[in-house]
């Protein structure tokens, strides 16, 4: 189960630049629960055991095992896994709500594992904020006071924090509900309050721990769109935890799939669908509508001598679904061109193989 890190040029439109230093770099991160947890990451032998064997041998549970990844500025990075895969523990390790057992979490060039209490608190107050699955709102405070809570904790004055909170309340679409109490709102609206609270402090990084799992499907979709809209408007770096693959594909620039605490695969959505690292991922992505995720790059074939090369041109990162009409309308294969260079061609057959749901790609 070696993690596959596919290096592919970035999708256009993502505010990501391979030259900038990552916002967060996670290196060899471990979280082990149980007696004498420290010894587990240190011992090569114990590292090699499966979860159950480790439990039997040492009484320890390894929730996060040797995870590496980097999050670029402005990126939406999704960690996906089923329940018990360690994803919620992982995100809590990033802000040390749960203390990691071993490894590094580098933020702004400093390992936050070295931060003392005061520094850590400062980071949480100004740089990070988090949205929780069960909202974690204060029932005795009005919406606006809930949103201002983080600012209050920093010591901001009442007038200023209320003004700022009011702005954010409007940003998340809760104008008119400032003076309601959380229990008077629906679940979706409560999570908007949670979102507003996280945004109020103007943090550099937003962490989402399965924020929409407790919501109805329709409201969930609204909230996902809300996050996409906010991402466009405020452009924050986001780390998003979910167990829902369609949510991950919808929101994530890159997706890390976890299983039993380990990274199974980390890459863009089309990479997971086009080149699953193993059967586990393949099983996962089986029901994904491939045309919505795969790009032409994944289905093009090399041009052969007898191909007509005077068809229309498309970029390699165009999603299949969007290219379908153009390809089928043309009477010649479509050329996939990047920077003036011909990468390959896509004809009716390649498109139909994907759209009609036949096995394609890698």
């Amino acid at each position: 189960m070696t993690p596959t890190q596919t290096e592919v040029p970035q999708r256009h439109g993502t505010p990501q630049d391979p030259d900038t230093t990552p916002v967060i770099s996670v290196r060899r991160l471990w979280k082990v629960f149980g007696p004498k947890a420290d010894r587990v990451p240190e011992s090569a032998e114990l590292c090699g055991l499966s979860r159950r064997e480790l439990m039997e041998r040492t009484g320890c549970t390894a929730a996060v095992r040797d995870v590496d990844f980097e999050v670029s500025p402005g990126e939406v990075f999704v960690v996906m896994g089923l329940s018990g895969s360690g994803k919620s523990t992982l995100v809590r390790c990033l802000t040390r709500l749960i203390e990691p057992t071993a490894g590094e979490v580098v933020f702004e060039g400093q390992d936050i594992r070295d931060a003392d209490d005061r520094h850590l608190r400062e980071l949480r107050r100004r740089k990070f904020s988090m949205v929780f699955q069960h909202f974690g709102l204060l029932p005795h405070r009005r919406v606006v006071d809930n949103v201002a809570f983080g600012l209050e904790i920093r010591g901001m004055g009442r007038a200023e924090r209320t003004r700022r909170a009011q702005e954010v309340v409007e940003l998340v679409g809760l104008a008119g509900y400032e003076n309601s109490y959380p229990d008077q709102l629906s679940g979706g609206m409560q999570q908007r309050v949670g979102l507003a609270r996280a945004l109020a402090g103007d943090p550099d990084v937003l962490f989402f721990d399965e924020p929409f799992s407790a919501l109805d499907p329709l409201i969930r979709r609204d909230m996902q769109n809300e996050v996409i809209r906010l991402h466009h408007e405020v452009g924050k770096t986001m780390v998003f935890i979910t167990h829902d693959l369609s949510e991950a594909l919808k929101l994530g620039d890159r997706i890390l799939i976890m299983r039993d605490g380990r990274t199974v695969q980390c890459g863009r959505g089309d990479e997971l669908v086009g080149a699953p690292a193993d059967d586990y991922v393949r099983e996962f992505v089986k029901d994904v509508p491939r045309g919505d995720v795969l790009t032409l790059r994944w289905i093009m074939r090399p041009a052969e001598p007898d191909d007509a090369l005077d068809g229309p041109e498309l970029g390699p990162d165009v999603v299949v679904r969007e290219a379908t009409r153009a390809v089928l309308a043309a009477d010649r294969p479509v050329k996939v061109v990047e920077n003036g260079k011909l990468l390959g061609i896509v004809g009716d057959e390649e498109i139909l193989a994907v759209v009609a749901g036949q096995e394609g790609g890698a």
Partner: protein
Amino acid sequence: MTVALDKTAPLAGARRLSRRMVVAAILVVWLVLFAVFRGRQTLTLAAADLTGLHRWFNDVNDTIGANRNTNPLFLYFFNEIRLVIDNLVGFVQHLISQPTGARPVPQIGWLGVVGLAGYVSWAVANWRVALLAVAGFAFFGLQGLWQESMDTLSLTVSAVLVALLFALPLGVWAGLSDRFNRIVTPLLDFMQTMPTFVYLAPLTLFFLIGPASATIATLIYAAPPAIRITAHAIRSVPESTVEAADSLGATRRQTLLKVLLPMSRRTVVMGVNQTIMAALAMVTIAALIDAPGLGKTVVQALQSLDVGTAFNAGLAIVVMAIVLDRVTTAASGREEAARRSGSRFLTWRRPLLAVGAVGTAILVYLSHTYVWAAEFPGDGGTGSSIASAADTATTWAQDHLSGITNTARDIITNGLLNPFQSLLTDSPWWLVGAALVALGAVLGGRFAAVTAAVCVGLLVGTGVWSDSMTTLASTVVATVLVMVLGVVFGVWMGRSVLVDRVLRPTLDAAQVMPPFVYLVPFLALFGATRFTAIVAAVVYAAPVAMKIIADGVRAVPETTVEAATSAGCNTWQIITKVQLPMSRSALTLATNQGLIYVLSMVVVGGLVGAGALGYDVVAGFSQGELYGKGLAAGLAIVLLGVMFDRITQAAARRTGA
């Protein structure tokens, strides 16, 4: 899976069957040996006889009395505490109940107190309970019990203040620290199993008889619920909320002040309610060690069998309990209600409160200055009418119902109580002890057996073995009756939402009453006998048993009952084969609580002819030479309580597992 089930099912069945048979066997052996050894080695002790231990306690008491003002431990510790408490109680008493110096009346007269009661109730709760409070307080005056009521209130308020001063911080600490919680929980459990009574005796040793001891006993008795409930409130704040505060960078202090305390406020006020009710119950019982107030009126009236006066004062206690309970319960729900009613109310609230404060201040000033507002007008005519009405009712009951009541009394006394009591008191002590240990082992396991053995040994040591057995007999008989009532009503309530809704408020109200007041009506019906104490105990303990059993029955999953119904069970089969077996741990818990409640009441029943340990304790307070014996009897009560509690708890754990 099925194979495993098939294997274990008959095994478990066999074990349960055999346990029942072992219990029966123990009883049979006991009966046989009883017939052989009857009347030998029963450790009977005549009322005026003392053992070495009792004399030694007397000596300790004398020594402490002689050195109270020289021994540094007393000089700088116990006496200081007594002084502080005395001053506090004295201060409150001078404020509302007792004359000070040259003033023939307290600083604040009835009008001021009634005004204050109404205003405070309105400020912390709502205007409805404020009206109730005003009416209740005015009623005390009409009853001719103004000063007694204010004395009771003074003691209660002082004890509650001091209790909360310690209990709330301790509760918060227990809520935050797992380690402290682990230390303090068993201690609180232990304190709560003790009958109110037993705190009194040892405290008089250190703090003399009087208001100080009464207040200290009260606050010790009243603090545990507040500690426990505060800790529980802090612990039940959702972890996700605390985590959210952490993720925003809150310090521990900020989390405590802005998240944990505000979110647990409502529950903490419920804890304050419990503390106030416990304090009121204890203050009335503390009349036995000369605490002033309504309790004293009741005790004196009970001792002279003056049912009318006892009823009048008992009614005042009931009214005070209702007022205090309603006000604090409403206070815990106020914020919720205020929030719902919208902000218009909130903007008007402040000015209205200010106006109310001014009005109250005027009332207080009037009552401080003018006699008509200081001394309650009238001669308490309502009180005498209540008393004479109660007397008339008593006479009528004795004339017309004596046939029924006496029959009931004689059936229970001769059919159940006497044989059982003679089995316990006429058996040799070692036989009873062995039987108790054996029962403990069978029902509760090895640890319960060891506890039972130690308790039996110590009971023998206290020198009041025979009295303990008499009390034990009454307690067991009363508990059996409690369980019969508990199962009948509990199942009824558990099965019918309607019945539950009708009965539960009554049961809640009944539990709030200080145990004392239950004695009065039954004294009127049955006269001063053991039976009176038993009936009062049954009435006192039944509500808690009913509620626990009802909750147990209700907790049986709907689907299980549905499955049984679809299998063709009739109602009786559903109750006996599904609902009762599945609420077995609730039944054991009800037995446990029933025993503890009954024990505390049977002991109080010593006042109305129940004799035995309760009488020993009461006599110890009033007669110097019996002090040691009273203390030993108090100890015996503790031992009985511990034994009951350990065995039933262990049994509950077994059935629960």
